[in-house]
Amino acid sequence: MTGDRGRTESTEDGVSPGGGIVAELGRMTGEERRAHEAEVAEAVAPDREIAVDVGDTLLEMRDVTVRFGGLVALDAVSFGIRRGEILGLIGPNGAGKTTCFNAMTGVYRPSQGQVLLEGRPLGRRARHQITRAGIARTFQNIRLFGEMTALENVVVGTDARHRTGAISALLRLPRLHREEREAVEKAMALLEFVGIADRAADRARNLPYGCQRRLEIARALATEPKLLCLDEPAAGFNPAEKEELMALIRRIRDDGYTVLLIEHDMRLVMGVTDRVVVLEFGRKIAEGRPAEVGEDPAVVAAYLGVPDDGVA
């Protein structure tokens, strides 16, 4: 199933896949294919610890408050994300989802409260350090490096774990060669994993929309995150694409990642998440399993009270 994902879009630009891995995949038997997929999954998440710690708290929001001037965008919000789960963060427009997200990834600093990753406060770390600490994200409005190829985009993600500096690069020291080799291997596996291996050589700006979204996910995964945050990854998708995306998110979780999902589309949230946190006006109004939360009167009121928020 890895190989044909995204293939539907691959002809849009009139680029034929030609030879390479993609063509090879088509020739494989079912057996070979499954073996290959296992290899890819292994390369995507080499140090997963599924069996070890599933269920303990990976990231904790502790009384996080974010103020902009007089406006309280996030009001003492607390919740935890457990290792190995898919947590949905939902709420009407302006409820503070993206603010919450930004507080988590270091774009905003909380006015009060703390964000703890594996029990350690993120504190005043710079954004790139937070990424290295293990939180990766995608963007609501796609932000790829347009002039780079898809493969290069992903390799930039892997660079978060690299230590090659100017000297090793200038003199082509062994470290550079080792890291470059690893990076390309890993990036290739990731592109395959999200289903756009056949577009590896294309510039990101020329990719179709769906591929761009997938590429963002691959780039975020490349940073070897403990927590992957997806900001409305299904925006602009048709129902079929949403199905595929849900399958991909599940596969990411099954591969050992923890996923935080901000999403408007209730069907998608209900279908894919293990637990849901609901925000309204910057406060947490509910938390629990999707089915329970869906019946929570406060949640229903929040959504019905604000009719224009795109509940699907």
């Binding site: 030609g18 710079a126 290295r132 490096f145 002039e147 780079m148 200038l170 050589a201 510039r203």
Partner: protein
Amino acid sequence: MNAHIASRAGVRILARRVGEWWHGLSRFQQWGVLVPLVVLIYLLPVLNPPLLTTEPGTDFPIAMFNAARMALIAIGLNVVVGQAGLLDLGYVGFFAIGAYVAALLTSPDSALGVRYPWLVVVPVAMAVTMLSGVVLGAPTLRLRGDYLAIVTLGFGEIVRLLADNVEPLRGNRGFQQVAGPPGTHADGSPIFTQTGGTPWYWLVVTVIILVLVLVGNLERSRVGRAWVAIREDEDAAEIMGVPTVRFKILAFVMGAGVGGLSGALYAGQIGFVNNQKFDVVTSVLFLAAVVLGGAGNKVGVLLGAFVISYVPDRFQAVAEYKFLIFGLALIVLMVFRPQGLLGARQRLLARGRDAYRRLVGRPEQVVTKGPTPDSGRGVRT
């Protein structure tokens, strides 16, 4: 006007054809083209080809040396502007620092009273300019791009004002007898003189090749990727784990080092350094060299530098208007073709060729097909 449009389209198609042809060649074939080309480039001042020559207006080897020097500067500035997307309008400041360090350490007019050999002085000049790059970059590179532009503009001007006003830098009187590289002919006369452009040209071309290799090494590594990521979308780069400030400073320092190197070469060739020639218009000329051919594209940058330096030497009639012409060229280019004559393209993976072959069975996409030529922005759909 129609002819103009047609010629523009012509240049574009030609550039793409050449690009596709080049990337279609194997490594081996590429060398086969490259080596004779480089030999030809080396031989240019000796051949002094009839149509190309700038004589009798300007001595042709000197003109070629100047073009090569501009090319070296452009390559250095391209690291900052083209790759990392930082607008540096004070590049002439680094050039000046390099020239002054060379003068201070080799000229008998210097108050330091030392006469170090040129070969020692060049690395010192580079180190000092790189240090000044850190000093300027560390506080300002945290700022938005346009602030940086104006601060660097100020920096270039401060360097000039220092040259004007600090007594030991001798203002307009300048330094005589700035040293050049060592070496004598069989008859004992020095190889590198103020009047003979050819040895200097060979020296600079060699330096260019060396710098191109080194810059290429940086480009196809984490460093080069970080630069391009910063250029494309700084916030996204930071969030993807790129320590942006550090890499911006690095770009600045690399650019400064090459600027200082060209300054020291310039000082050596002229043999004289004073406070002239280091003003803002020169900085803008450098920028034009980078932007004209295509910022971020090394071939383009070399081409742009050649045009900027060669055209006024070859066509003396336009020399007086060169700043006007290149200023107009900047506007026209930005409005109609902001990516320059050749668009930006760099290879960012040390092992990219293999990877693409294995993955998709063809090389990466080299020429942008899309109708949106602007680089420097993330993807918007």
